[in-house]
Symmetry: C2
Subunit: 334 residues, 2 copies
């Protein structure tokens, strides 16, 4: 009988999930608005509605199957405990709530879904780590035992694999490359510190760089006609495609920052390859070329010209769904 795993990708806006087979094909998918359940008190309803929606999806599959397990990628998802721990944008305290004890904001979703589905295996990790396992099982890191995945979305996430295993760390939260400080005293970061890599290299980071460049340089640019709050990474990408000098320099500096940070990461874990994943990575050569150039220029000699810089190899519309499901396939394959 065909085996499937459920992959769930929990974002602040939307929860996407699907039934994924052992080859990484998404047989069916659906979603639930995460935003409809904003408060701590809404969480039980979220779990009940997600459970029902998964049952509906499974009921719609037009072939006989066996469910091997559920994999979850979630912000602050802890691989060690299976809980979403103190997520910044999910299930917040009610405004004016008096008991703001953060220990109340630990959401043991893996155990809860396992109980709802007759004790099947449920594994959780953060979204970047789920993409990392996805690349190892279905994508461009197949057969690799030492690699890094960098996800370039609103922020910068990452997953490190060493000796064929995800580096989760003692507390389950390893892999926060986006919060390595690359510019002491630099741009304010959502984490409360300054100069983190993701404030420069991410969809939001590249917009900040565009503003900085419009302040610094005199070149004309179509970006000067866009209000900063309307500006997004895609506009910068399109302007760069059209030869806009500010937008072109914007990608060059973003790649330069990323390349330097990757050279440092390589000295620590010495990967076979680094995969760039997510919206900003779709800019292709505009990002990859300056990143590769800066990485090699700043690389320590034993590692030079060895490390491949690759795009994602996952072709699903929502790559996070097979990524989350891969947590289960990885475990079953040992």
């Amino acid at each position: 009988m065909k085996k499937i795993a459920i992959g769930i990708d929990i974002g602040g806006t939307n929860t996407a999930f699907g039934a994924v087979d052992e080859e990484g094909c998404v047989c069916a998918e659906s979603n639930l608005s995460t935003r409809r359940y904003p408060l701590l008190d809404d969480y039980p309803d979220y779990v009940a509605d997600l459970t029902a929606a998964i049952r509906t999806l499974l009921g719609s599959l037009p072939f006989p199957f066996e469910t091997a397990g559920i994999g979850i990628g979630a912000p602050n998802g802890n691989y060690r405990t299976g809980a979403i721990e103190q997520p910044v944008n999910l299930w917040k305290f009610r405004p004016g709530e008096i008991d703001r004890d953060e220990r109340r904001r630990i959401f043991p979703l893996a155990d809860e879904l396992s109980a709802a589905f007759d004790g099947i295996p449920v594994r959780m990790t953060n979204d970047a780590n789920a993409s990392t396992i996805g690349e190892m099982i279905f994508g461009n890191a197949r057969g690799m035992r030492d690699f890094i995945v960098v996800t370039l979305g609103t922020g910068l996430g990452s997953g490190f694999v060493a000796n064929g295993e995800l580096v989760c760390g003692h507390d389950g939260f390893a892999g926060e490359l986006g919060h390595v400080v690359v510019e002491p005293g630099g741009r304010c970061c959502g984490c409360g510190r300054r100069g983190c890599l993701e404030t420069y290299v991410s969809a939001t980071g590249i917009c900040r760089t565009a503003l900085e460049l419009m302040a610094e340089l005199n070149e004309p640019s179509t970006l000067r006609g866009i209000a900063p709050q309307e500006l997004d990474a895609r506009m910068i990408s399109e302007a760069a495609e059209a030869g806009d000098p500010i937008a072109v320099e914007c990608f060059r500096r973003t790649g330069e920052r990323l390349g330097r940070a990757l050279a440092d990461a390589v000295t620590i874990t010495s990967p076979e390859a680094i995969l760039l994943f997510g919206g900003l990575a779709k800019a292709g050569a505009k990002l990859f070329d300056p990143t590769r150039a800066a990485m090699e220029a700043h690389m320590m000699y034993p590692f030079r010209n060895k490390v491949k810089l690759l795009p994602s190899g996952i072709r699903a519309t929502n790559a996070a769904i097979p990524g989350a499901a891969a947590l289960i396939w990885k475990e079953l394959r040992g």
Copy 2:
């Protein structure tokens, strides 16, 4: 019968080796001058003399024993291949040598020693990684599955353990924390680049900081009476002990640099503990206090006040010998 493993620590000046039991006790030790074999052509003699010296040591043991294997810690020692690859200070080309093909400077010592000793297991890694395994088997990282060891000697070495396994990387050379760039365009490093951590945090790095401080500050200092080429880390440590303001500030800045770099390393691998090892670490609270303070001050919030900063737990005179032998005990224990 008592089992022993031979631990070998190869340095540019001296090769120290000993017979180590399963508890990490060094039953007997000896050494061979590495410096007496400076050239590529001297390498076969080095292997022959080392083999003979190990036989003599084994012959001197006053109890019946079984040799489980040989562990080697060596600069540029590659865990994957068992070879010392292009070491900077060992077995160099003869001055004026015409064929300077670096591929000739790969020394497969693990295979050679295994052949000399009836095919017993021989494992090799670099000196910092050997110390790391030593801490895991015999020292302050016993029972830990995720930790970092930083060795503060002439340079700064490191070993990362994730999921209970040493992170060796794709090419066997992972763990070069000393060559993360902490100051772009900063101090010249032996690796040919600028601003590497070890140019600030190491026995030589702290001497450079002392010179910088004597230039920057007006405070009197006993260090002002010492010629720069005579200055060493121990003098700075003794001066700091005596309250010398330049020397005290020197340790503070060294700890500050190290603490910031450790905070970044923690965001990547999220260790349970970081162990500081080697000469400079013996300065104790003078180094540990500012390091811990800077690490916590620059730590991303999920990791704050979680990571232990510990001294080495290996009490042998030459900790590198049990460290190298631990490569064998680690493997036998699985």
